[in-house]
């Protein structure tokens, strides 16, 4: 039965419940690298970095952009707490492209006043948005 492979997935953002449903496979980008999770994974808490999440449902794959947060994996239930979560159609690609250029410029300047880490994060976020938005 297909049901045996399904687990409950919830993606929660601060301002809404972003996704709630059954999925059979979930791909995420964590601080340790990309992971894919099936049902009956060992319980685990991981930290997310900006990246693309792929949710495999019974009838197709959904793609979303997740920026920072963490994920708690239990045997038949996965909960993702994401500070920012976006579907492809919610992303303004042009704005993301502008943000990318802005972040690149800031990194190139090598000004000691510029917060490099923050600019890098901004760059990463914009890249993810562009990639997801183009799908």
């Amino acid at each position: 039965m297909a049901d045996e492979k399904m687990f409950k997935l919830r993606i929660i953002a601060p301002d809404r419940v972003f996704y709630e449903g059954d999925a059979s496979f979930l791909e995420l980008v964590t601080s340790e690298g990309e992971v894919g999770i099936y049902k009956n994974h060992i319980p685990m808490t991981m930290v997310l970095v900006p990246g693309i999440a792929r949710i495999t449902e019974a009838d197709g794959v959904k793609v979303a952009a997740l920026h920072s947060g963490f994920v708690e994996v239990l045997q038949d239930q996965i909960t993702v707490l994401a500070e920012i979560a976006e579907w492809p159609d919610e992303i303004d690609v042009n704005r993301a492209k502008e943000a990318k250029i802005r972040a690149e410029r800031r990194l190139e300047m090598q000004d000691p006043n510029v917060n490099t880490r923050r600019a890098e994060i901004a760059l990463k976020k914009s890249l993810i948005r562009i990639e997801v938005g183009d799908i």
């Binding site: 601060p14 601080s31 991981m46 963490f70 708690e72 045997q75 909960t79 707490l81």
Partner: protein, 286 residues
């Protein structure tokens, strides 16, 4: 007895005041609906955040992380959330009273959100470290992030030893509770309950190590509490204003009724008096 004209003028002014309070009530009702939806939407995030942080801390009791340790003898800081506008009943003064009752102005510094609280508390002699009042017009998650970052930075630099947050919790439309919560160092109560509820499952694994996870999650935890408090405060503010304006409107209604009665009585009195005068005049002519 006041003259008819005086009563009429008074009635007119109360009527226009009533119109204003009625309009304000309607506006805050609409705002309350929105804020309530916001509060409900974000609730699951905070509940889950709290649960996760609690269970991590419960299982790893002896982690020596600076975020979890009180800094002795240092100053305390309070994040105080009030509104920018008045006319909300006891909403603002309750928060100010709560802060003044629990902290002394000598060793406490404030991060202020909301102009009303700033005015009242700086008059009492509290030192205001930072003012984020503009946030209260439209609280966003990024605002909470900004405040959280600043507060955590001051905490890790050792400028402050304990952080509290004072806000008005939104229970339902008519009941709002001024609440004081300890934010840092993180203290988790009822550890045992948590242990029991999760003990049936396999132990949780962490990737990266627990300490690193904690390092990343605590700032998010703080941010989410601040955001939750902001959202709750916004809902409470509008709820409090709605109630205050509702009772103002019904008070005005009462006064208008009272004045109408007085006005009619005065009118009747003057008619009677006129009649008596006419009759007396006619009798005098005869």
């Amino acid at each position: 007895m006041a003259s008819m004209r005086d009563i009429k003028r008074r009635k007119g002014s109360i009527q226009s005041t009533q119109q204003i309070t009625k309009a304000m009530k309607l506006v805050s009702t609409v705002k309350l609906q929105k804020a309530k939806i916001n509060a409900e939407n974000s609730k699951s995030y905070f509940d889950y955040m709290y649960d996760t942080v609690t269970s991590i801390l419960a299982k790893s009791g002896n982690i020596n992380h600076p975020y979890l340790q009180a800094q002795e003898g240092k100053k305390k800081a309070v994040i105080v959330i009030t509104s920018n506008r008045g006319l909300a009943g006891g909403y603002n003064s309750n928060i100010c009273k709560l802060v003044a009752a629990n902290f002394s102005d000598k060793d406490t510094q404030l991060y202020i959100i909301g102009r009303k609280g700033k005015e009242a508390l700086s008059r009492k002699g509290f030192e205001v470290l930072e003012d984020y009042s503009e946030v209260m017009n439209q609280p966003l998650y990024s605002d909470a992030m900004k405040i959280g970052e600043r507060v955590l930075q001051d905490f890790t630099e050792g400028k402050i030893g304990e952080i509290y947050i004072a806000y008005t919790a939104f229970k339902n439309t008519v009941s709002h509770i001024p609440t004081l919560m300890k934010l840092m160092p993180v203290e988790i109560e009822d550890k045992e309950d948590k242990d029991n509820s999760k003990s049936s499952e396999a132990p949780m694994n962490y990737e990266p190590e627990e300490e690193e996870v904690l390092e990343m999650i605590i700032p998010k935890y703080v941010t989410s509490i601040i955001y939750g408090a902001l959202i709750a405060a916004e809902a409470s503010e509008n709820g409090a204003r709605m109630q205050a304006m509702d009772s103002a409107t019904s008070n005005a209604e009462e006064m208008i009724q009272d004045l109408s009665l007085k006005y009619n009585r005065a009118r009747q009195g003057s008619i009677t008096q006129e009649l008596t005068e006419i009759i007396a005049g006619a009798q005098a002519i005869e």
